[in-house]
């Protein structure tokens, strides 16, 4: 009986997993862009570092986009300064670990996923950093049933993604490095400097093979959560991913994301919010940069991050307000409260910053009267 059952069981699993893959909410980068990766690898005649799927040039092309000699079009994955991608790829090629810093919403995770997919063909060797990430997630854990039954052995050992990457010469990823408790972070020091992971229980070690590297991401506004020790920091080359450098680019990103989110939340469509979106983005940019868009007046910056991601949430909120409680059109009053909430994080200092901005900048601006009034009401 059991003999006959087993194959059926296996078949079923395969079916379900295949189905799941087809319907995955978000496929991995190496699956979603498999064609481009294959085309790049096929036409890449430049030297490749050990175990890299393609040369550093090809990796940079994969991220920044371009057209291959045979006409294959590579879509840009990251829209931003070329310099940043070049430094990131070069860092991986020099076997230094890469730390991607940036405020939320600057595509850190996105870049790290695509880098791993292009370099190693696998972006799944991922450790998600949280306040509760244990050492086992970075080193190795034990299968306690095996451990109790057979004692410590390599069979009872559950390798972490980092350990697997070391053994196979792949790229490991650590998300939100600064959220991981400091003592757990320090586990990485040996891995990054000695390129080895000792297993004292077995008297063995796992040595990283050529091709191993690590990409970490961290939020540079949260530095204080668990700041990296200088010993660890020294092992990383740091690349700061900037916020979009023009209003147009940012408005574009915000409206596209708002549109996507709105659809997934089944919000009623709100027509023609672009003006209001532009206004939100302008306010965020001006406060963030500490200077008005025309470059003529400096303003103080509040303590909040005011990232693109926050602008997106302010607009989404406003849309929900407009759709459910307003007249269906995104109005200044719909976003005013959201902006206030995003800007005024510190009730004392930020409120002054905000009011100064309102009085010195917003009040004077043509066509912003409604917005000024709405903000005054919201702040009162």
């Amino acid at each position: 009986m059991p003999v006959s059952v087993e194959p059926t069981f296996v078949d079923q699993t395969e079916n379900t997993s295949a189905q799941e893959e087809a319907e995955a909410l978000r496929p991995h980068a190496e699956d979603a862009f498999a064609d481009e990766l294959a085309a790049l690898a096929a036409q890449d005649d430049r030297p490749r570092p050990a175990r890299w799927k393609m040369s550093p040039w090809a990796v940079a092309t994969y991220l920044l986009g371009g057209t291959l000699p045979d006409g294959t079009v590579i879509t840009p994955k990251y829209v931003g300064p070329r310099r940043i991608v070049e430094v990131a790829v070069t860092t991986l090629a020099t076997d230094r670990a890469l730390l991607l810093l940036g405020v939320p919403g600057t595509a850190k995770t996105w870049v790290s996923e695509h880098l791993a997919a292009a370099v190693s063909g696998d972006s799944t060797l991922l450790v998600q950093g949280t306040a509760g990430t244990p050492e086992e997630a970075i080193r190795y854990g034990w299968n306690y049933a095996q451990l109790l039954a057979h004692g410590p052995s390599r069979h009872a050992l559950v390798p972490s993604p980092v350990m697997r990457a070391m053994a196979e010469g792949m790229t490991a990823r650590v998300e939100e490095l600064t959220r991981i408790p400091a003592d757990v972070q320090d586990t990485l020091i040996t891995i990054l400097s000695e390129k080895t992971l000792p297993i004292p229980e077995l008297g063995q070690e796992v040595q990283a093979v050529r091709g191993f590297n690590l990409i970490a991401t961290a939020n540079d506004r949260d530095r204080g959560v668990n700041e990296l020790s200088s010993a660890l920091r020294r092992r990383f080359n740091t690349v700061v991913l900037p916020l979009p450098d023009s209003v147009e680019a940012e408005v574009d990103i915000v409206s596209r994301r708002v549109d996507q989110i709105g659809r997934s939340l089944d919000l009623p469509a709100v027509p023609d919010g672009v003006d209001e979106i532009r206004r939100v983005v302008t306010v965020f940019r001006e406060l963030r940069d500490g200077i008005t868009a025309d470059g003529r007046t400096k303003v103080k910056s509040p303590s909040g991050t005011l990232s693109t991601a926050e602008a997106i949430s302010v607009v989404t909120n406003g849309l929900a307000l407009a759709a459910h409680f307003g007249d269906g059109v995104l109005r200044p009053s719909d976003v005013a409260a959201g902006i206030l909430g995003a800007v005024v994080r510190d009730p004392a200092a930020d409120r002054v910053v905000w009011q100064e901005y309102l009085e010195a900048v917003v009040r004077e601006r043509d066509g912003w009267k409604d917005f000024y009034r709405a903000c005054r009401e919201a702040s009162a």
Binding site: T90, T91, R96, L99, T238, K298, V352, E356
Partner: protein, 830 residues
């Protein structure tokens, strides 16, 4: 190019001139020039530059001469018309001069004389400094929009940002300030070559192809052959590339080269911009060249060496020679080997000095990253871009903040040139002498006082000169308090010319060639460097006094920036009165103070926003200080409100709103709250009844006696407060009632405050108050019973007595013949 080709293969014979085409300020070119000169050993070195400076060449060998320096040419009668030829240690021209001096070989400048080029510069055509050809992408960026001094050696030379061309240096400096930026329609020769090579940046292309190439073994002439070929091809296509004046310059240079050939019998080496090489090689008849250079207009020109700085060589700084990174070039030139490693070590040293932990491991990793990046970008050697990216990623943790320091200190650099004392006088001294003559203001060692009436043109000119000199650090005159008159049109100066002031003038020569231009540049630089907000406002005031309209916008911009970023309301409040004072002073002098009014109004608004939160939770001393700020702002807003800036609406109205907030808020210290009520009352924004109600609230038993006493101090302290109590018995009654209610144990606390408040009154007021208090509260009722008028006053006007006063008041106010309205107002006042 046959000459060099032959020379390249078999050594230079000396029959043809050796043409060394360079990129101005290119360290690679400089090395190549030195190697080529060493190999060729010419009998004379000809250099692209103004021949008037030939006499100054020996000074370049003086031991007190340290590059960067610049050759300065200026018209003798008109120091404002000038041009600079900056030379850095790594400039090929400088290297050639030094080589010639070391080898005791004559060196000469062969470009068109400055006597002609300065005239060109003043023509209205406004043609910008031509790109000498060898210079990289600088052609587009270097010329300053304000400049009208055309500069002969192309972008290698800076331009005088404040050159004025008219006869009167004082009057017309601003005439050209608003000229539109010249559209540079000329061909950028290197840009074309770089584009052909697939580079987007001509500067980088040149670096890769020429500068970063180490010296090839053996053939020192090879680089020049290649460059000449490329330039030859370009000039075949583009001709003069729109640089029409270049043709004249090249004709002159050809004549000079020929003359030198004849004089020395061959053995002539020429160092010039690569762009000119094909033209110099060209066979043109002497007659044709003569015809081109004939009959050019002339001015009388003087030349001298002036010290220069790396910052001024940098493109960003107006006088720019068009190079972004003089420090980096200097490093490339001076580093004997391993430039990237040495550079990274320098960067690490700088960052360590600034207390950043940078270990040797960082340096190693940075070098590795830079070199790998260079390989990835397909460059022969890590350039500035790669090293900067590597420094940012490895040593600066991705942050641009420490990187800015690296840029400022190393990439641009703090290097300051020096010029030996034997160098001829700077034009600023001449300009000063000229002004002294014109204003009949002799420099005398004997101290004397000078009374100036600014309504007279000559006196105003003297005052401006003295103020400008003070800005430049030449303390010839010291302003003293005027005797007798306090009018703003009067100034008293104590003059004394000390010998060391001449040295100061010479030092100030770096700022400009005329007193006006120098003072303007200095004021702008001072504004950039000023620490506090109050320093900038003081500077703005001095700019107005010295009448530097060109400096004012820059100062105002910095002032607005500082004000925007200063979180301390106290600083803002300190700055406002000075600004408002300048505004009024500007009015007196008829200066356009629109920008000033704008900034002042902006400053006032920031104060309005920040003041209420800043008044919470203050101790006694801080509250007292803030009370003074409130007073100062009140006065300033009163003055400002008379001439509101466009778009700032009713400042007074908003100020009153702020005062109301202050008067009503419990967390505001009593002394400020009391003063706010008082100011509102004085401005007629608060009814007497309301003031009495607020006072009653504060003096009610719920308020601690100390706070109440502080409120009283704020309310009736200072001038006129006593009269308020004398005339409004209701208020006096409130104070009286409160005082009798203060418990015995609190009384000793309150006493010093009250004493301070009341002792400041005039004796007469104190006596009247005492009498009123002795009469006691019983009388208060009768005062209230008088009726509907202002409390403390009679119900109606005593018309007869008022009429008796009015004529005199009219006379005093100059209101003769004024209408009914005025008399009504006056009646109100009376």
């Amino acid at each position: 190019m046959t000459g060099v080709e032959r020379a390249g293969s078999s050594g230079w014979t000396g029959t043809e001139p050796l043409l060394l085409g360079v990129r101005h300020h290119g360290p690679g070119s400089a090395r190549a020039v030195r190697a080529a000169l060493d190999a060729a050993r010419p009998r004379v070195v000809l250099i692209e530059g103004p021949p008037e400076a030939d006499a100054l060449i020996p000074l370049a060998g003086d031991e007190d001469m340290r590059p960067p320096v610049a050759l300065l040419a200026h018209a003798v009668d008109e120091p404002g018309r000038s041009a600079f030829w900056p030379l850095a240690e790594f400039s090929p021209e400088w290297v050639a001069i030094r080589w010639a001096l070391e080898q005791r070989v004559p060196a000469r400048f062969i470009d068109l004389p400055a006597t002609h080029t300065l005239v060109w510069g003043s023509e209205a055509e406004g043609e910008s400094a031509g790109d000498g050809g060898g210079r990289g992408g600088g052609g587009a960026g270097a010329p300053d929009a304000d400049s009208d001094a055309d500069v002969p050696v192309g972008a290698a030379t800076g331009t005088d940002a404040n050159a004025d061309t008219g006869p009167d240096a004082d009057a017309d400096a601003d005439a050209d300030a608003d000229a539109a930026p010249h559209s540079d329609v000329r061909v950028d020769p290197l840009g074309v070559l770089a584009e052909a090579a697939g580079y987007d940046d001509a500067e980088r292309w040149w670096e890769d192809v020429v500068e970063h190439r180490g010296l090839g073994e053996g053939d020192a002439f090879a680089p020049f052959v290649v460059v000449e070929e490329a330039m030859g091809a370009l000039r075949e296509v583009y001709g003069s590339g729109g640089h029409d004046r270049d043709l004249v310059r090249e004709a002159y240079m050809r004549l000079q080269v020929r003359a030198a050939q004849r004089e020395f019998g061959g053995g002539v080496a020429v160092v010039c911009g690569a762009w000119h090489v094909p033209a110099l090689r060209q066979k043109v008849t002497v007659a044709a060249d003569r015809a081109l250079v004939k009959g050019l207009p002339k001015v009388k020109v003087d030349m001298t060496w002036v010290p220069w700085t790396h910052r001024r060589l940098a493109r960003a700084s107006g006088y720019g020679a068009g190079i972004d990174s003089p420090g980096w070039y200097g490093h490339l030139f001076s580093a004997p080997d391993r430039p990237v490693e040495r550079w990274m070590t320098k960067v690490a040293g700088l960052l360590r000095a600034e207390d950043r932990t940078v270990s040797s491991a960082h340096v190693i990793e940075a070098v590795r990253l830079a070199e790998t990046l260079a390989a990835m970008r397909g460059r022969p050697l890590a350039g500035l871009g790669e090293t900067t990216d590597a420094v940012r990623a490895v040593m600066c943790e991705g942050s641009d903040v420490p990187l800015a320091l690296v840029h400022d200190r190393l990439i641009v650099g703090d290097v300051l040139g020096e010029v030996p004392e034997a160098a001829p006088a700077v034009p600023l001294q001449r300009d000063l002498a000229r002004l002294q003559r014109r204003l009949r203001l002799k420099p005398e060692a004997l101290e004397r006082e000078l009374e100036l009436d600014l309504r007279k043109e000559a006196d105003a000119g003297r005052s401006r000169l003295l103020h400008r000199l003070r800005l430049l650090g030449v303390a010839w005159g010291e302003q003293v308090v005027s005797r007798g008159s306090t009018g703003t049109f009067r100034e008293t100066w104590r003059l004394r010319w000390e010998p060391e002031l001449s040295v100061r003038v010479a030092e100030a020569g770096v700022w400009g060639t005329t007193v006006l231009a120098a003072a303007t540049a200095k004021a702008e630089a001072d504004a950039m460097a000023a620490q506090g907000l109050a320093d900038v406002t003081a500077l703005a005031e001095r700019c107005l006094l010295a009448e530097l309209p060109d400096a004012l916008p820059a100062v105002m911009r910095i002032l607005a920036d500082r004000a925007a970023l200063d979180a301390d309301v106290g600083h803002l409040a300190q700055a406002l009165p000075a600004l408002v004072r300048s505004l009024r002073y500007g009015d007196v002098r008829g200066t356009d103070t629109g920008a000033l009014a704008e900034v002042a109004a902006g400053l006032a608004e920031r104060i309005f926003v920040g003041l209420p939160p800043a008044c919470a939770a203050l101790d006694t001393d801080a509250a007292e200080e803030m009370r003074r700020h409130v007073d100062a702002v009140h006065t300033a807003v009163g003055l400002l409100g008379e001439a509101p800036a466009a778009g700032h609406g009713d400042l007074r109205g908003r100020w009153h709103a702020v005062l109301r907030v202050l008067s009503a808020r419990d967390t505001v210290p009593g002394v400020i709250g009391g003063r706010a009520v008082r100011l509102l009352l004085d401005d007629g924004q608060l009814a007497q009844d309301e003031a009495a109600r607020l006072m009653g609230l504060v003096l009610s038993p719920g308020t601690p006696p100390r706070d109440a006493a502080a409120w009283i101090e704020g309310f009736v302290g200072g001038g006129g407060g006593g009269m308020l109590l004398v005339h409004d018995e209701r208020l006096l009654g409130l104070v009286d009632g409160w005082l009798t209610g203060v418990p015995a144990e609190a009384f000793t606390d309150v006493l010093p405050l009250l004493r301070r408040t009341f002792s400041a009154y005039e004796p007469g007021v104190r006596r009247t108050l005492g009498e009123l208090a002795r009469r006691g509260p019983g009388q208060r009722g009768s005062a209230a019973a008088v009726g509907s008028g202002i409390p403390g006053f009679g119900a109606g006007l005593d018309v007869e007595r008022a009429d008796a006063v009015l004529p005199v008041v009219r006379l005093l106010l100059g209101l003769d013949g004024a209408g009914e309205e005025d008399s009504a107002e006056l009646a109100g006042v009376a």
